[in-house]
Subunit: 303 residues, 2 copies
Amino acid sequence: MDTRVKLDTLFDLEKWSAERLHRVEQALDIWVGRNAPPTLGEPMRYAVLDGGKRLRPLLVMAASEAVAGNAQAALRAACAAELIHAYSLVHDDMPCMDNDVLRRGKPTVHVRFGEAGALLAGDALQALAFELLTPAEEDIPESMQARLCRLLAHAAGSTGMAGGQAIDLASIGVALDENQLRQMHQLKTGALLQCCVMMGVATGEVGAGVRQTLSDYGAALGLAFQVVDDILDVTADSAVLGKTAGKDAQQGKPTYVSVLGLERSRTYAQELLAQAQLALDESGLKDTNALHALAGMVVGRAY
Amino acid sequence: MDTRVKLDTLFDLEKWSAERLHRVEQALDIWVGRNAPPTLGEPMRYAVLDGGKRLRPLLVMAASEAVAGNAQAALRAACAAELIHAYSLVHDDMPCMDNDVLRRGKPTVHVRFGEAGALLAGDALQALAFELLTPAEEDIPESMQARLCRLLAHAAGSTGMAGGQAIDLASIGVALDENQLRQMHQLKTGALLQCCVMMGVATGEVGAGVRQTLSDYGAALGLAFQVVDDILDVTADSAVLGKTAGKDAQQGKPTYVSVLGLERSRTYAQELLAQAQLALDESGLKDTNALHALAGMVVGRAY
């Protein structure tokens, strides 16, 4: 399979990302937890600020730029997606779920602030995501606000991320085949990543054909992300990963590596990358360098 | 203080409510958890269906009818508000929060489905609330959808319900004065109840003056609800209440009864009822019988 590198050789992902992340970090710092009671605002800010690769915000902004979308809406959608991701990590790390003590190299939220603090902070972060998408006094059409909420709610809920987590929990010690594993991951991780692309698209005006190609890109990238995550869980160490490595295997969770083996998992990740790149080419959009580069980063990352 | 009964003597709240609740229960049955993985859908449905007074849905629908609003939007907002309420109870009952085993006369969700199931079901119910508010193919203007999301997200999050719960948690064993207690309850319970009224209003078209009077009505009703809740916590028994009575006092939580005493709390509830009724009169709206009657029910209820 040809994984043709489609990047403009002049495109500098690091520079592109740094500029966008500067705006995202500033916005999150302003929007998260400042007006909350301190016992809630502190764990909210701890969970969100100063950590994470921010892949989801970058995907929203790259997709928005590809369709020449509304930049203010893209910034809000980027932050909203990150809040949904952050809240899911906070709840997922709790003792009744994965019982993890280390995240992004720091103690997890419930270790630092107690379980009740982690529970409430997660709940408040989810609500804040939808609050960010629906500002009363900004130049974002309310029809666009509604569409962004629709995409995010669907991707976060029982037919998306939360549904995937439930299947994941129910699968501990259960032998899944590749299709079942793919289905679980499409919900658990893929739905939100694909949603980031589609929220970016929703900040602009494109036809159904372009929308479909970017949806395909998002689906392939979302799955690739999880395949690589499973590979890294067995090949990287905790210090590099910033979280406890080898956890999935320990817990008897089915992973791509356990189902396909390490080598076939690596090949599969490359195939998904090629699918994502192909979808971008088929979109006919001009400004897809960042989307191309982000897909490459997802598959090439070391943590 | 004159708590003038403003009800049309011909108005039958029970009949009015039964008709609305029939639609709400049918809608919830269709919308909640059916497409979710079973291990998630079951606790979601258990938490929401066949229980509760449904005060929040009734408030949404009464307010929507008062402003001759969009009935389909009102039904969705009614269900969305109930989902936010239901998720907050599921999480609130968990061991790390109130650790309650009885709710609406049944074992709480975490007792029945485990803590992970309760955590995820609550998370998914919150997302579903925003999904219900943003249907793709229905005759609800997207601008209205965005406004409903804005109201609900604000009322549910760190500057509303979740914020109030955080203050509540931090107040165990702490002596609050009446102002601090009011502030806590305005967030914890009042914000969502007031939001129900304002979502109903947002399904129609009214001027800022009318909106303000209904906002005042919602604020008074929300506070009255909590005062009566605190009274019932010490005067009702668990069987009638459908939850563990006397819990607040046991946990050293400040309540209106502990701050004002029982008699002054009762008087205060009547004063708030009068404020709510007055606000309705000042709205100049004609069809406020249901809103009047619901306020009366909130203050007169035995459970």
